[in-house]
């Protein structure tokens, strides 16, 4: 029988393609021959906009990229600017950053497990994981005033200290979450449908993963033991004791296991960080850079002038260039900043993990069935807002 290649547009309306991704799939029967991704046109133009903003004004742009992990985006940005400036952050601020970053990892992975399970057809996990995520969203709101676009970190520290009741709320999360993870595993890890849809699907070997620049849980799922938090530490991650999970079979199931273990490890890191938390300042001793305390802005003319100067003119940053990568839930999020000595970034480049990871989709899905493509998109855990900054 003569066969014919069929071209099929998958997305942007397909639920698994996150709104703007379109995959032009060439099929021989049900088998994928070729994939041409069109990554959509969101075009917030964050890199271009930051060239016209001061360093403080560019910060709120960053948490809009990966809207599932806003604080991680903030973290990479403030670390890059702090590196350019050469300033040190007080210990309390650093510890709070770690707590918030790990809570963000939990939050992002919860959305991943929810959507990935839903893509494959498991509805219960979706509802459970969003219920748990809501707890972290409440914490976000408590700490920063916003549920999504937190804008909580500042160059030199944090925008404000932790509110009353934070510790109890975190403790509740620490106590209950491991049980929730057990529930997800109970629902999925021994579920025949789940196993058949994930084992041996979307295989990418360690060498190929490195070749394609894949980072984060997807890289570790392929058996590469590498985590920026442990291997190129930032924000004092070297002080925490945690395990880096690694997969063996390089398939969708391994990436699922890696992320689940990562969530359990995040809970441990938060627990350690909560115990380290000591009272102290939350902003670096750098009056040129950091906003003055609110009492002095409201009660003294010097404080008001000081605040006004930083808010309107920004602060000059020494000429030079730096790159700072952080371990985002999706992979390595990097900020490459070039300063020309003025108060605005000359060039701010974001190295987005989702963008680079998605580049490997054809390699991962070629030769498998069209139905497995859904699982491959889900396992990469992409956020289109980050792909098309």
């Amino acid at each position: 029988m003569a066969s014919e290649i069929m071209t099929l547009n998958m997305g942007p309306q397909h639920p698994s393609t996150h709104g703007v991704l379109r995959l032009v799939v060439e099929l021989d029967g049900e088998v994928i021959q070729k994939i041409t991704p069109h990554i959509g046109y969101l075009h917030r133009g964050i890199e271009k906009l930051s060239e016209h903003r001061t360093y403080h004004q560019a910060l709120p742009l960053t948490d809009r990229m990966d809207y599932l992990a806003p604080m991680h985006n903030n973290l990479g940005y403030v670390l890059a600017v702090e590196k350019l400036l050469g300033i040190e952050v007080p210990e309390r601020a650093e510890t709070i950053r770690v707590i918030m970053a790990e809570l963000t990892r939990l939050k992002s992975h919860l959305v991943w497990i929810a959507c990935h399970a839903l893509d494959i057809g498991a509805m219960t996990v979706f509802i459970y994981a969003f219920r748990e995520r809501e707890k972290i969203m409440e914490l976000y709101e408590m700490v920063s005033g916003a549920r999504m676009t937190s804008n909580y970190f500042r160059v030199g520290g944090l925008s404000r200290d932790l509110p009353a009741g934070f510790e109890a709320a975190v403790q509740e999360i620490l106590d209950t979450f491991p049980g929730h993870f057990d529930t997800y595993e109970g629902l999925l890890t021994k579920n025949t449908i789940w196993l058949q849809r994930t084992i041996g699907n979307g295989v990418i070997s360690a060498d190929d993963a490195i070749d394609f620049g894949i980072s984060g849980p997807a890289l570790r799922g392929s058996g590469v033991d590498f985590d920026l938090r442990r291997d190129l530490p930032y924000s004092g991650y070297e002080k925490y004791d945690f395990k880096v999970p690694v997969g063996e079979n390089c398939d969708t199931f391994d990436r699922y296991k890696v992320r689940l273990v990562e969530m359990r490890e995040s809970v441990k890191i938060i627990d350690q960080a909560m115990k380290r938390l000591k009272p102290g300042p939350i902003l670096a001793d750098a009056p040129q850079v950091c906003y003055p305390p609110k009492e002095s802005v409201y009660n003294s003319i010097e404080g008001l002038i000081h605040h006004f100067k930083i808010a309107s003119e920004g602060f000059p940053v020494p000429e030079g260039e730096v790159y700072q990568g952080v371990e985002n839930p999706k992979g390595e999020l990097g900020y490459y900043m070039v300063s020309d000595g003025s108060s605005k970034p000359y060039r701010m480049r974001v190295r987005p993990p989702s963008f680079v990871n998605l580049g490997a989709i054809e390699k991962m899905a070629k030769g498998s069935m069209i139905a497995d493509l859904v699982a491959v998109i889900g396992t990469l855990d992409i956020v289109l807002g980050e792909i098309d900054r």
């Binding site: 590196k83 490195i210 291997d231 190129l232 990568g325 390595e332 990097g334 490459y336 070039v338 098309d388």
Partner: protein
């Protein structure tokens, strides 16, 4: 100092004529090389010095200077837990450089993005088409002479405050 860095020492031995500059700033090593030699240098870094992971390819537009563009490669060594930055100047008149796709597949999309937003032509790239903008888009948005608010609009005059 940058001179003592293992990679820099090796590159100085091998590519004495190609190296334009070596610098260390905030603990990060930057090597600037002639664009004719970029593939050789990257290959040497990948194979001999174990910088096996191409993290990023991007460009910077230094409008008003010559050469105008700087193509920037960020490499990472997974076994050595180390980073290095390689830069190559590209002039406006001959706005092209060899593609690194023969060394890393990750260069494919990253170079397409640099082509799309800066208009740098990556020679021997298998599929050099726009990736973020539509196919028929005119101009390269991240160039410094491209208006912030897009073409056919009043130029941006800064915030009123």
């Amino acid at each position: 100092m940058a001179e003592n860095n293992r990679a820099v020492v090796k590159l100085k031995e091998r590519f004495a004529n190609a190296l334009l500059d070596c610098k260390e700033y905030r603990g990060e090593v930057t090597v600037t090389v002639k664009k004719e030699n970029i593939l050789e240098v990257l290959k040497c870094l990948r194979d001999d010095l174990r910088y096996n992971f191409l993290t990023d390819v991007t460009a910077v537009d230094y409008l008003g200077q010559d050469p105008r563009f700087m193509v920037v490669y960020h490499l990472m060594s997974i076994p050595n837990k180390d980073r290095i930055r390689v830069k190559a100047p590209v002039t406006e008149a001959d706005c092209s450089i060899d593609s690194a796709t023969s060394l890393w597949n990750s260069a494919n999309w990253l170079e397409r993005e640099a082509y799309d937003l800066f208009g740098i032509d990556f020679k021997n790239h298998p599929n050099l088409v726009r990736i973020l903008m539509t196919d028929d888009w005119v101009g390269h948005p991240l160039r410094k002479d491209y208006p912030l608010q897009g073409p056919d609009r009043e130029p941006y005059k800064g915030r009123l405050s």
